[in-house]
Symmetry: C2
Subunit: 306 residues, 2 copies
């Protein structure tokens, strides 16, 4: 039972045209769990250094996030520093200090091994594969990856693809992985490697769910203010899997609804620096935004088309 | 009654990574009418030179396009030559020869002045305004414009905005017009200048319909092969207004359906060089693709959201 995420727990320093943060709570597992915990309890596996402000994690525990799978290792916590362009469309990594994350070896506490819904955040594909060996009877496994692993550990990424249900990547990653610039052909290429579904995220343009013979599209929420795109993809994954875990569903129809919950969480992520976009967000707000999302693409076609 | 378009009738030479054309039939009024005529008869006002291959226009007349408002002037026809980037995301104009289009002064034949649905293609805003004086009791007026007019004839563009129902532009134009990079704020800025609605086209990412307090999103059709984006925006306009003229509608719901018909026509436009993407396309195909579009964003939310 339950929802599990394995990924980074980090300290981010982000510069955007609208402000900046220094050593703010971040990392894929944090964004995923902050979003997902609005829908269902989330268990996290990760690692932090002795310098980590654990009080911030403790504060989030009250939302239903179980941090007991996060190891505390000797050394510095994972830090990332990045700068966004004026239109937030691209970013440059200024500094990556892996610290204790360099030797991360995910170990699931016994109580976590019965997880039904599993998200493998963007870490070394060999570690993602090792997590798969530790979960007993997962119902649905989704994973992320990035250009670094696609080029440096391609074989392991392909091995991973043959073992997961859903790959969730951004369009650049889908193109690099498949070697095809056309996003729909890229999606089909990935499907041919094993996953039943591919979610391709396109930032401010929304996200696509590619399935054999069928495609679903969810736009990004129309926001007049966007502050910090960091973590939007992981928040999307948290909403997506959080919805499925909450409802215990895995049908085609549920996947479409999960996409909308994912896009909803992505819209909160970008509305504030770090995880601040989620402050004061409660389940009622989420459901209200989901309804707005459904209206955003609703075509009133009840009448005969002619 | 009826649908009227005023715009360019041109000869395009287009280079893409997948092939090229030389002096092929093109121009905003051509793309608009080829698309729109799949749904309803279209009347065209434009100008060509003595060198124009009028047989190509005559062949299209059988589709229900009335070219009797196209003047034949002494001189060369309007020619445009452009080259697309490897991913078709950007293009460079290699040559523009206005020819007879430089002195274009749109004169509506008497029989055209009762048009109910009017599209003002991308021409000098002063000419667009002059067309508005010639139509008697239009029900809906939509117009396009471009960066060149936004910077060189800004006052006239703003005057035009105060007199049309719908502005249809791409995202770059909306940003340049409003001076705001956020597309949703840009849309609201434009609404404040007069139009009841703004359609912002985003190429392969689809198009947005911005209305006061409400937004609608239609994606682009998932195509595994795209050959030539030229004319997609005008084909979109032809589908949009063609649907409204065909059904005699102008309701909020009809506008959403019109967006889907617009996106459908855009998908045919990019599937072939010039207007070739429309070869062999019949109404039945259009309706079938419209159904697929509706499925593309359909969220099965009949059950209670929770």
């Amino acid at each position: 039972m339950g929802l599990l995420v394995v990924g980074s727990v980090a300290l981010d320093s982000v510069f955007t045209p609208f402000g900046e943060t220094a050593d703010a709570l971040g990392g894929s597992a944090v964004y995923f769990s902050v979003a997902g915990s609005l829908l269902t309890p989330v268990r996290v596996v990760g690692v932090v250094g002795k310098d980590f402000p654990t009080a911030e994690l403790d504060a989030l525990a009250t939302r239903g996030i179980d941090w007991s799978g996060v190891a505390h290792a000797d050394g510095e916590s994972f830090r990332w520093k990045g700068k966004y362009s004026y239109d937030l469309q691209s970013r440059e990594t200024l500094e990556t200090r892996l610290g204790v994350f360099a030797d991360f070896d995910p170990r699931l506490p016994d109580g976590f091994r019965d997880a039904s819904y599993v998200f493998l955040g963007n870490i070394d594909p060999e570690l993602q594969l090792s997590v798969l060996k530790q979960v007993r009877t997962p119902r649905l496994i989704a994973c992320d990856t990035m250009n670094y692993w696609i080029s440096s550990k391609r074989e392991q990424v392909l091995e991973l693809l043959s073992r997961v249900d859903i790959l969730m990547v951004n369009d650049t990653e889908a193109r690099e992985l498949s070697g095809d610039w056309n996003i729909h052909r890229a999606g089909r290429w990935i499907l041919d490697r094993g996953p039943k579904r591919v979610v391709i995220k396109q930032g401010e343009y929304g996200a696509i769910l590619v399935e054999p013979g069928r495609t679903f599209y969810v736009p990004a929420f129309p926001l007049e203010e966007v502050f910090d795109p960091t973590g939007a993809g992981d928040a999307f994954a948290g909403g997506f899997l959080g919805y499925l875990a909450r409802t215990g569903q895995a049908s085609d129809e549920a996947m479409r609804r999960a996409m909308v919950y994912g896009a909803t969480m992505g819209s909160y992520a970008v509305a504030g620096f770090g995880v601040k976009g989620f402050e004061r967000v409660e389940l009622g707000h989420v459901l209200e935004r989901v309804r707005k999302f459904v209206d955003l693409t609703h075509v009133p076609m009840a009448e005969r088309i002619e």
